[in-house]
Amino acid sequence: MNLEKMKESFNKWKSDYDKKKAASKFRQKKFMSVSSYEPEPLYTPLDLEGFDYFEKLGIPGDYPFTRGVHNTLYRERLWTMRQFAGFGTARQSNERYKYLLKNGQTGLSVAFHLPTLMGLDSDNPLSRGEIGKDGVAIDTLADMEILFDGIPLDKVSTSMTINAPAAILLAMYIAVAKKQGVAPEKLSGTIQNDILKEYIAQKTFIFPPEPSIKLIVDTIEYCSKHLPAWNTISISGYHIRESGATALQELAFTLIDGRTYVEAAIARGLDVNDFASRLSFFFNSHNDFFEEVAKFRAARRIWAKLMKEKFGASNQRAQLMRFHTQTAGCSLTANQIENNIVRVTIQALAAVMGGTQSLHTNSMDEALALPTEKAVRIALRTQQIIANESGAANVIDPLGGSYYVEKLTDEMEKGVWNYFDQIDRMGGVLAAIDKGFFQSEIADASFRYQREIERNDRVIVGVNSYCDANAEKGGGELLKIDEKVEREQVAALTEVKKKRDADKVKASLERLKNDAKSGANVMYALIDCVEAYASLGEMCDIFREVYGVYEEPPMF
């Protein structure tokens, strides 16, 4: 390409563009991404001067994996269609899982209700009003058995969104599989198990940071030995984004959390070439199509560099980043909810073009309630249409080489390293959490975003523009959780507590306490506890006693 000619052409275009901009009114004052990033109107080869294909991109499946982690990607196997689901009792969720599997979903993803996330049993007074409302109620192994009744755990992989009590739910899953006759080595799936983002964004923390990280390393260590196909952690940016972060913040904070976990596992003496291949990630996919694609590509490149250069990982599987994506819940509107189907489609397409390994698409009614069967079916069909009708799945990294996307990927990467420096100067992730750094960055970003909407600098269709007072407000039919779920669950728990062997429970909880106190790996004691039908609350109370309870710094 003739560089001089390019420069001349570009400058001519630029001066013409600037003239037009000064003379007429463009349709918006600013053109910004969802993250308030302002791209140029045009990208050309000039933006990629000196671009080294092998340094920046590589072949898919090769370091630095910018273009993807497989060299066949979706031609060999589509991403896993994994819809997050769970509500009411284990029986009700079991039915929803069977419905989803029947409709072509290829993996399960379990949503637990808030009491479970917070380590509380359904009969705890703090759980009143919350039972089964936003996830499935799981108190003991008995509930888990019902949840997976008729679902072969050697054939279906399961992702469980659980953090503070993740080790406990993993123990329950292993115990259910055991009862089904499935050996631990056959189990495939993920526990989210990412406590750092809880302190930053989702706030379902229980114990303080240091013991929580210890629990995470316990699970990593245990799975290294017994569950080689299990993803021990899903290092998450989704929630960070949902709480108001920009795409760059989502990326930077997630990656630095990941780095912290790797450091902790290495400190325990674990081999990075072994455990790192079972770390996985979880990202958000929001409305700005190109920003998201760039983010996914930058993520892979940065992680690969980190693993290879900082941690010396030589095994390719330990260098490459696999991730699950969920379309952005915070982008859904409560007005004209059919529009959300369109938003989800764009977001899902970005995830596919970004090379995700598995994908959850939100349902249109989720700004109002948990999804109905019809809404979730449409969400699943969205993925299936993209996979089969759009051609997006037929070429690996189809946007690779786009001047815009490559430039944006580079910018994201730079921004991430800057954030790393800033956080390191503060003393690292735990120190930054303590200082409220992440929380204040996020609060600032979310406030700015809201202001942009209210000043009409940012258009949200159906919310501050194209509104229609006559449009049906909300969905006709919404999912309602029956109040009797609470009564049923509490009754079921009481039954389990009556029927179980009280001595066995007591002994197993004692063992758990001793192991926790001595610093031993608690997974073994937990499996004993769950098999004795100790309840989640009972086990978490032991941890609360030994590890203490976390209080977040007051921060706006």
């Binding site: 808030l114 009491p115 996330l117 917070m118 509380l120 703090l126 759980s127 009143r128 009003g129 919350e130 409302k133 936003d134 809880e198 989702q202 706030k203 379902t204 949902e242 709480s243 108001g244 915070c330 859904l332 509107t333 409560a334 007005n335 700004a367 109002l368 309630a369 948990l370 996020i442 609060a443 979310s446 406030f447 809201q450 909407i453 209210e454 949200i460 159906g462 919310v463 501050n464 407000k473 909300g474 919404l478 959780i481 977040e552 007051p554 706006f556």
Partner: protein, 134 residues
């Protein structure tokens, strides 16, 4: 000295999603209100106690976990029981229209769902808060 509108912003129940509550808190501050933020995971008793001690004009309840019917009714009952039901109660979060109707029937003044401009909430409070001058 002019009397500021004083609002308690509360997160009841186990829900940890505080993005909306914090954005609204800032918007209120920018509008000149005095906001007391309770922090996460408050019981209805703690919320009402705080409202009384701080002598607030209104309580804003943010709840996204589906437990709104239970939480709001507990709060309304406690306000009545403590004879402070002149404090206005409003809310936001993930609350379907049917439930909004129920909540209004038990005395909740307004629910501001996802997408509500913060200015609307500010205007509503300015128009409807009764300054309890004794």
């Amino acid at each position: 000295m002019s009397e500021k509108i004083k609002v308690l912003i509360a997160k009841p129940g186990l829900d940890g999603h505080d993005r909306g509550a914090k954005v609204v808190a800032r918007a209120f501050r920018d509008a000149g209100f005095e906001v007391i933020y309770t922090g996460l995971r408050q019981t209805p008793e703690q919320i009402v106690n705080a409202a009384i001690e701080e002598d607030v004009d209104a309580i804003g309840v943010s709840i996204l976990s589906g437990a709104h019917n239970h939480c709001f009714s507990e709060i309304m009952n406690l306000l009545k029981h403590n004879q402070v039901d002149d404090i206005m109660v409003f809310g936001g979060g993930i609350i379907p229209d049917d439930d909004v109707a129920y909540l209004k029937s038990i005395g909740v003044a307004e629910i501001f769902g996802p997408g509500t401009p913060t200015d609307d909430t500010v205007k509503f409070l300015k128009a409807n808060v009764r300054k309890g001058n004794e």
